[in-house]
Amino acid sequence: MSNVPFEIFSQEFANDLGIVDKGYLTCILKEVPEYDSMGKITISLTIERLFGFQIPFEALDKVETIHVLYEYCIKNSVRE
């Protein structure tokens, strides 16, 4: 189980996608313009760096919010 706190994950998420508006924390990810094809590749690499596993693209596509994405990462993390 990873010990990356949500605050760090969400901060890295925003930094890597170049998001300045805090709306991404509460809205559906599909509505975040930066979370597009390229954005998903970027976040996939962010997750690898923080949690040490390769997230399937389908999972990135399906998760509805950043909180659900974080829970997925915690569950699948291979880092202590």
Partner: protein, 176 residues
């Protein structure tokens, strides 16, 4: 593994491309937003100079997804313009769009041996702006209030897309 592929645009494909091009999610992100009629599309295809313009359809697992292009090829100056649109809205945020882009830029830079690419993008087309930034494009100063101009050289492209190409390799099972 998924099978992503590119094929040259043929006469049989042009009405599919016209259908995509007229869809709101494509049309509204183009500099020219006029509806394209069947005959206009045929005329456009007939006028393509294959030496200076190359269009490809990209597909994923045999499903046609969109169109990528290299246009305004200038072999003397070694320049070109790259373009893409995802026609099938179900794939709008899919990795295959990035794959198609990388394939077309690889072709332009490494096979056609071109040196520089230019791009003109509407300022509110955030997906294209984000994609171009990831490919290594640099903003040019001769932009106006509606559109921005960008330039990409081969070295910048090679360096900027190293990680992306490694990432895409996972899906298609081979180097791109």
């Amino acid at each position: 593994m998924s099978i992503a592929s590119l094929r040259n645009l043929e006469l049989d494909d042009i009405q599919l491309v016209r259908y995509w091009r007229n869809l709101d999610h494509v049309r509204n992100r183009m500099a020219i937003t006029d509806y394209i009629a069947r005959d206009e599309q045929r005329d456009w295809f007939g006028k393509i100079d294959e030496k200076l313009t190359k269009y490809f359809i990209y597909s994923l697992d045999s499903r046609d997804v969109g169109c990528v292009s290299i246009t305004k090829i200038n072999y003397a100056d070694k320049t070109f313009e790259g373009g893409i649109f995802c026609g099938d809205a179900l794939y709008l945020n899919h990795w295959v769009n990035i794959w198609a882009c990388v394939k077309i830029y690889n072709y332009a830079f490494y096979q056609l041996d071109l040196d520089k690419s230019f791009a003109t993008i509407l300022n509110d087309n955030n997906p294209a702006l984000s994609l171009n930034k990831s490919l290594g494009y640099v903003h040019l100063k001769d932009s106006d209030c509606n559109v921005s101009r960008f330039i990409l050289n081969r070295d910048n492209y090679t360096n900027s897309t190293k990680t992306i190409r490694e990432y895409l390799r996972r899906f298609v099972g081979q180097d791109i």
